[in-house]
Symmetry: C2
Subunit: 192 residues, 2 copies
Amino acid sequence: MKNRIITISREFGSGGRTIGKEVAAQLNIPCYDKELIAKMAKESGFAESYVRQQEDAVSSGYLATAFTNRALGETNQDYLWKIQCRVIQNLAEQGPCVIVGRCADYILRDRADCLTAFIHADNGFRAKRIVRVYGERPESPEQRIREKDKRRAAYHQFYTDMKWGYAKNYQICLDSGQLGIQRCVEILKSLY
Amino acid sequence: MKNRIITISREFGSGGRTIGKEVAAQLNIPCYDKELIAKMAKESGFAESYVRQQEDAVSSGYLATAFTNRALGETNQDYLWKIQCRVIQNLAEQGPCVIVGRCADYILRDRADCLTAFIHADNGFRAKRIVRVYGERPESPEQRIREKDKRRAAYHQFYTDMKWGYAKNYQICLDSGQLGIQRCVEILKSLY
């Protein structure tokens, strides 16, 4: 099987995005991450900030309300999910690429040319990293990690019905804290 | 971090044992798998066949009874678990090696020189493999896989309190069905 597309799911702060960008740069193929938001905004007519909110950078009442209120039919989030599927499938059609996040592993599950990766790391590594690299405030980063994890897992499970973080969902899972970001880049590159 | 020891947890039929043996052969270090049984039998005084039974090649009433009957104190299985811990820790002290199965990842969790790997594959790949490679009878191999999975997960969870198959338990998880056994060998070797 020739891998034309690499999808990267990642825990917040694990460096999955950095790994994706570096793999794509070294393979000289595009990496889609924040670009997906812009494309989804364009297709949906919603503002980019609103689209971004729908995955995990959300207000604290999110978990309680996000997956309810469907008695009246499709929510904005469901509508955006369909657009997200279409945007990601179109990108995969266009040519080799790396796609970070947004359940791309699930959306492209029927393609044989996809390498699906999951990047994780322990909470200490991630807490240090979000302060140092993302410039997040240094107060209780562990708590923000827990919240992000919870939201990402809930979003993923709702739309894919797959258990978040379960090894069998992916062809390869890597601990970026133990192995190091560069080593993760090398391994993924070698599998392309 | 220099990896002196590689532990391989694996789903039944995924080729994890083959991968471990091949990695060890190419690195010219010992691989402990069935040898662990002989060492545990020697230390415990139990027959090898009895020791083998305690992990997963067990009779069908096993799951219902294995983890009960502790009102009267330590079971034979608990006693063997302690010996298993000692045997594996001693082997790790003696020098570089590959250890397949037997919760070695958990038993050696406090060592910094351990690379912990989990090998999995989809049921179709494993079903074909246990018939072809292990010479198992060709009738309903999927069912035997499900039973083995269940027992291995229960044993692992009971003694380690870790969710079986969860990516965060391991530094690297590989899908041997999708990536191929040789590719898995190369990746693990490159991390040593």
